[in-house]
């Protein structure tokens, strides 16, 4: 787990990309990981079925915040439909090695919120195990 905190993770944690709010988001969602208290909000600017812009806000551990920050970079320009279908692999690819099973929920929080915003409903959460 200690090898998880590589420079680029710490960089995303300390200098999150796309942090903040959109003036008029076309979709948004928020959730918290009740067991650790991490909280993330995602706002999307969608035009013609494509994610033109995205902002996230919230607080939490390096894993949840860095994962969310990286995720925002991955999805800009993505079709909303495809975002709704994202699997946890995108997060695992972004963050690389070293997440212990107990922390997987933290890593997936941003994705969970993004998908919630994208599909606009509760169904289809990413498998967190």
């Amino acid at each position: 787990m200690d090898d998880f905190y590589r420079d680029f993770i710490l960089d995303h944690y300390r200098n999150p990309r796309n942090q903040g709010h959109l003036d008029a988001p076309s979709a948004s969602a928020e959730d918290l990981n009740p067991l650790c208290g991490d909280r993330i909000r995602m706002e999307l600017d969608v035009r013609d079925g494509v994610i033109r812009d995205v902002r996230f806000s919230g607080q939490g551990c390096a894993i949840s915040q860095a994962s969310a920050s990286m995720l925002t970079e991955s999805i800009k320009g993505m079709r909303l439909e495809d975002a709704a279908k994202l699997s946890k692999d995108i997060v695992l690819e972004n963050v690389g090695i070293g997440i212990s099973p107990t922390r997987m929920k933290c890593a997936m929080l941003g994705l969970r919120v993004l998908k919630s915003a994208a599909i606009g409903e509760i169904a289809g959460w990413p498998d967190e195990e």
Partner: protein, 414 residues
């Protein structure tokens, strides 16, 4: 320098088999999460084993030999726990945990004694288990909740206590904060509550394991605690209640064992304490609880308290140099006013990341809101890391924690 009783501590460690088992990374287990649940000594584990291998049987109605032995040991355990807090055996109701004990009071006492407009006084530092049952009860009855406020150091503000106690029907207060270690000044609050006519419930989940407790001297009406936080197995807790109060209360759960005479239409209930114990009890774990308090009595609760105070003093001393590098320690930083809990955050390392990094070194701490979300919100903390001590911890564990923090600083390039 702190004078540890190192000899006793080493003897205690040898009694806890889990502490001799290295982690999967080959590290020594440094268990600093006893406020969540304690480890168990051989004597307790063996008591379960003996029960199941030698005399497992249902109790109270059994004529045969092993049933008689099971009944005797079960009721002897109740007597041991009663003695441990200076109560009578009939005043000891077995529950699953402190949470169920508090809910029992909320349902049975609360539903019959609390009415619209009544006031429940509690504090801003309560564990959810001593808060949510009262929120639910207040909503059901139309009673209102009032809070004794907490200051920035995690201590209760008693300036307004007389006004806060006015017209209070129930005071529900913790003995010790599980998040901050604060020992609440019961000796200053309870006599006033008594004078104001309030019924008094103390959440002893963090009190009974760590401090000498005498429910008569405290003069509480109810005292709730959990075995698993004081060397006993999971699944067994206690509600202490003053006999007259318990006698007057209606049963909570209904079923086998808590009845005297049952007809299809009408039923009368059993004597204390069985009136509140419906269905087959957690026999084995109750017996284990008896062994656990014997273990604590043999150590002496004064020793337990002194040992934890020594650990806290030593920890504060060792952690002080890190404060300049961004370590923030919450709660009263005074071992005389605090039980064995240290809540902290280190620079911008989130508590969960801290816990994960310490885990790689075999160090077990808790991270999060510690079931005290409102307190966290009020203090403006999204999460804290918490190290908590018990009888089997030593200076070496504090040293390991400090080294773990140094490692975390390196990992996070502080």
């Amino acid at each position: 320098m702190i004078a540890f009783d190192e000899q006793t501590a080493q003897r205690v460690i040898a009694d806890f088999p889990i502490l001799a088992r290295p982690t999967s990374r080959g590290k020594r287990l440094v268990y600093l999460d006893s406020a969540a649940t304690s480890q168990k000594p051989n004597a307790v584990i063996d008591a379960l084993d003996t029960y199941y291998r030698e005399y497992n049987a249902n109790i109270h109605r059994g004529v045969y030999e092993i049933a008689a032995r099971a009944t005797d040991e079960f009721e002897a355990a109740r007597a041991k726990v009663a003695r441990f807090i200076n109560a009578q055996p009939q005043e000891i109701i077995w529950t699953r945990n402190a949470t169920e004990a508090i809910n029992l009071v909320a349902y049975s006492w609360g539903a019959h004694n609390l009415h619209a407009g009544d006031v429940i006084l509690t504090t801003e530092i309560e564990h959810h288990s001593n808060l949510v049952p009262w929120q639910v009860l207040a909503e059901r009855t139309g009673a209102t909740l009032r809070f004794i406020p907490v200051d920035g150091r995690g201590e209760l503000i008693l300036d307004d206590i007389d006004r806060l106690l006015e017209g209070v029907k129930l005071l529900a207060i913790t003995h010790v904060s599980n998040t901050l270690g604060t020992i609440t000044p019961l000796e200053r609050i309870l006599p006033k509550a008594r004078a104001a006519g309030a019924t008094i419930l103390v959440d002893g989940a963090q009190g009974a394991p760590h401090l000498p407790v005498d429910v008569r001297a405290l003069d509480v009406d109810f005292y709730a605690f959990s075995g698993h936080k004081m060397l006993a197995p999971t699944g067994i807790g206690v509600l202490y209640g003053k006999r007259a109060l318990l006698e007057a209360m209606p049963p909570f759960l209904a079923g086998g064992d808590m009845i005297r005479k049952v007809g299809y239409e009408r039923t009368s209930f059993n004597d204390l304490p069985w009136k509140f114990e419906a269905g087959t009890s957690n026999i084995a774990d109750a017996i284990g609880f008896g062994v656990a308090v014997e273990y604590l009595e043999a150590l002496g609760m004064d020793w337990v308290r002194a040992h934890e105070r020594d650990l806290l003093s030593y920890a504060f001393e060792r952690l002080a140099p890190l404060e300049a590098r961004g370590l923030a320690i919450y709660g009263p930083k005074d071992p005389a006013r605090s039980s064995g809990v240290i809540s902290f955050n280190f620079a911008d390392i989130h508590a969960h990341d801290m816990a994960s990094i310490l885990d790689t070194e075999g160090i077990c701490i808790r991270a999060g809101h510690h079931c005290t979300m409102p307190l966290m919100d009020k203090m403006g903390w999204s999460a804290t890391a918490r190290a908590s001590f018990y009888v089997y911890n030593t200076a070496a564990d504090v040293d390991a924690l400090v080294e773990g923090l140094e490692k975390a600083a390196r990992v996070f390039k502080l």
